[in-house]
């Protein structure tokens, strides 16, 4: 079974996002692409939402693709083939 133990039942499964913060250079392209889910704090501290809602997948995908160092990894259980 691949049902996540901690998905809240009822709502569609959300996304899972993880950024490799060693790679991240705080260029902030993700923040322009998905400002509600990525932001820079201080000079270069990237804050991101690790569990965006399924309906935000287009924004998250735009952010993932925009990252110049490919630091953003996304799993979309709702889109799994």
């Amino acid at each position: 079974m691949s049902t996540p133990a901690d998905a809240s039942s009822g709502s569609p499964p959300g996304l899972r996002v993880c950024v490799d913060l060693n790679l991240c250079q705080a260029y902030a392209q993700c923040c322009y692409a998905a400002p509600r889910h990525f932001r820079i704090e201080g000079h270069e501290a990237l804050f991101y939402d690790p569990a965006p809602a399924a309906q935000d997948r287009a924004d998250i995908e735009r952010a993932r693709v925009a990252c110049p160092v490919q630091a953003i990894r996304v799993e979309d259980p709702g889109q799994a083939s």
């Binding site: 691949s2 000079h43 501290a45």
Partner: protein, 426 residues
């Protein structure tokens, strides 16, 4: 036994970052046999770094950091059950709940746990916390949200500094007690530690370096104040024990593998060694639990608690166990980051053994700088504070063992203008 033959059984012990990336790598390398993942916690692999940062300030839910994964439904998850004993003779892993899992390939990725407060009674008082898992983070977050009079952080390593920063972000009074002369002294040395300590002091952390907590006083089962060895008392409602980590290797007792609280020993390829120093070609280890000879540091055996290491070594070990020929010995350049409030500290390389330190970029007093660590005239590590984009150039210097002090592209000053300092290791 051809790699990928469908009768082979692989078992991954631990269900953290290294375990997940290792299991994925096995599948991606073409392993199609049965794959089981055993995890002591009842959760799918989740990310720990947010637990000492945005989870504590209430920006991220403790249960929101489940890691993205490419694993499909062809995995047997045994979550909430610990590995208890390994029998290499019969190639069986015994779980605490009585189940027994046979294996042909085994990945050891049981990580570490928080080192407990030495007095077990005091460590169990209400208001006393350690921080390793998401349940720990949820409990600590609730205690911080309740508005304690003051938070006491015991230990000035990375997690201690992150917790203290989170308290300041919440506007809570916080005292950090560290026996060394500065925070982060063990990893970064006292010189860089003092620069970073000054940033925290400037943000209102009450730093008590060169001090030690002797005992924790209670009232009706609750922590109420700490007594330092110099007689000082600190009144607080919350104490966070941040004294580093212990590796989860007890379950390997009696297995004949070379393991102790400092890690399980691997050879250069990543296979685990037995007590005679012979590799077991069916068993590999990765992540915080693995101790291995690092080729960049003369084969010195190291055990690293770095997120990037769990990923890179997990992938390496997964490929190794799948029979894919990895590119040779494992030797990824160590990298680390820490976000302390909105200050980012990043490092490449290992500072241990450094005999000199050079500030190559920026000004420590401004809170933004890069420091390079040298040993016997070579660059062995670099640390960037709010200067991450300069780190890749320094990573090249460290990977190449370039002459120290460095000059040229990696610095904004002529080499005669670089001040060489003592790194200040104890």
């Amino acid at each position: 036994m051809a790699p990928g033959s469908t009768t082979e059984r692989a078992v991954v012990v631990g269900a953290g970052l290294a375990a997940l990336r290792g299991a994925e790598a096995m599948r991606e390398a073409g392993f199609t046999g049965a794959l089981a993942i055993v995890g002591a916690e009842p959760y799918r692999p989740y990310d720990r770094p947010p637990l000492s940062k945005h989870v504590l300030i209430g920006e991220t839910r403790p249960d929101a950091t489940t890691l993205p994964s490419s694993l499909g439904a062809d995995v047997d998850w045994h979550l909430g059950s610990s590995a208890e004993r390994l029998d290499r003779g019969s190639r069986t892993l015994h779980l605490a709940d009585g189940r027994a899992l046979p294996y042909d390939r085994l990945l050891i990725a049981t990580g570490t746990r928080a080192r407990p407060w030495p007095n077990p009674h005091e460590g169990r008082l209400a208001g006393v916390f350690t921080l390793r898992g998401r349940d720990d983070a949820a409990a600590l977050r609730a205690a911080l949200a309740a508005g304690p009079r003051r938070v006491l952080v015991i230990g000035g390593g990375f997690i201690g500094c992150e917790v203290a920063s989170a308290c300041r972000q919440l506007g809570l009074p916080v005292t950090l007690v560290e026996p060394s002369p500065t925070p982060l002294a063990r990893v970064l040395g006292g010189t860089v530690g003092a620069f970073i300590g000054a940033i925290h002091a400037g943000r209102g952390v009450d730093l008590r370096c060169g001090s030690e907590v002797e005992w924790l006083e209670e009232a009706e089962g609750r922590f109420v104040r700490a007594h330092l060895t110099d007689g000082t008392r600190i009144e607080a409602d919350v104490a966070v024990i941040a004294l580093g980590a212990v590796r989860n290797t007890e379950w390997l007792d009696g297995s004949g593998l070379s393991a102790d609280p400092g890690g399980v020993d691997c050879d250069a390829a990543g296979y685990v060694l037995d007590t005679d120093g012979q590799p077991d070609p069916r068993i590999a280890a990765a992540g915080d639990v693995a101790r291995f000879p690092h080729p960049l540091y003369g084969g010195r055996r190291v055990a690293l608690e770095h997120w990037s290491q769990a990923v890179a070594q997990g992938i390496h070990a997964g490929r190794l166990l799948a029979g894919a020929n990895p590119e040779g010995p494992y030797g990824a350049l160590p990298t680390f980051w820490s976000a302390q409030g909105d200050v980012v500290v990043k490092s490449v390389g290992l500072t241990e053994g450094a005999d000199a330190l050079a500030i190559t970029l920026g000004e420590p007093g401004s809170g933004r700088f890069v420091a390079v660590y040298g040993q016997a005239g070579r660059c062995i590590a670099a640390v960037a504070v709010d200067s991450a984009r300069w780190l890749p150039a320094h990573a090249d210097l460290v990977a190449a063992g370039a002459p120290f002090p460095p000059d040229g592209a990696a610095t904004d000053r002529p080499s005669k203008g670089i001040m060489v300092l003592a790194p200040g290791f104890p």
